[in-house]
């Protein structure tokens, strides 16, 4: 497929991203670059200096809300991008409302209990909607431990064991690898298998 054909095929698709941190911001950038028709992004948090080791924000944006600031950065890549941003703490109720029209949902939270919550919500309310979840991305190296596993409509990307902690933090290379693999799964779902 030529790039113009890829872009054309993606132009009618909507992707929901839950969380605008390390996974969400980098995944959103990849999807914007390839021309996804619409992105729906949500996050309640503001940018801190410690986020800049992996999240797609800039030093002068510290203190701003992540969701509208990510939109601003995505529009700098493509001023015609269609991005709907929400400053909101996601819950089972508002997830159903915010992401109901999305073709695919990307789980991009930090905390394990939030990951569980959105997967449970999406699987029970939208059993036919694909959801991609990032699990296991702390530290560095271990390229070949990162993989994608599919459980019907649920896709898990990551090494599935490296939990983040003070001594095993999430940092740009590995978080970027997982988030771009998640974007790659989005394309595989929307365009069909290529490889």
């Amino acid at each position: 497929m030529k790039f113009t054909e890829i872009k054309n095929a993606l132009s009618s698709k909507a992707v929901g991203i839950a969380g605008c941190g390390g996974l969400g911001s980098n995944c959103a950038v990849a999807l914007t670059r390839v021309g996804i028709g619409k992105l729906v992004i949500a996050d309640f948090d503001v940018i801190e200096e410690s986020n800049l080791n992996r999240q797609y924000f800039f030093f002068e944006q510290i203190g701003k809300y992540k969701a509208p600031t990510l939109k601003e950065n995505l529009l700098r890549i493509n001023p015609k991008a269609n991005v709907s941003d929400h400053i909101i703490k996601l819950t089972p109720n508002n997830i159903v409302d915010i992401y109901k029209d999305c073709d695919v949902i990307v789980e991009a939270f930090d905390k394990a209990e939030m990951k569980e919550m959105i997967v449970e919500t999406v699987l029970s309310h939208f059993p036919a909607k694909p959801i991609i979840c990032g699990v296991g991305l702390a530290g560095w190296g271990g390229n070949n431990l990162i993989k994608t596993e599919q459980f019907r409509k649920l896709y898990i990307v990551g090494d599935r064991t490296s939990e983040t902690s003070e001594n095993d933090p999430p940092i740009a290379p590995r978080v970027g690898a997982v988030s771009n693999m998640m974007a790659n799964v989005v394309l595989e779902i929307l365009l069909g298998k290529d490889k």
């Binding site: 941190g21 939270f109 394990a112 997967v119 649920l154 898990i156 990551g158």
Partner: protein, 69 residues
Amino acid sequence: MKITLNNNTEILETAETELTITQLLQIKKYSFKNLVVKINGDLVKRGTYDLAKFKDGDTVDVIHMISGG
């Protein structure tokens, strides 16, 4: 009992014809706090692990959710 657990064949040593998710978590020593559990593709909600049963030939997924993003 022979099941498909997390996309792999798993043989569970048991005399029972059915097991609950709670029993499976004990047998496999799965101690993670946050899980997504499915039996034959259907979600088993948290709080129903004592009630949800599976049998020989079933497909069970116990997916661990761990922090990081």
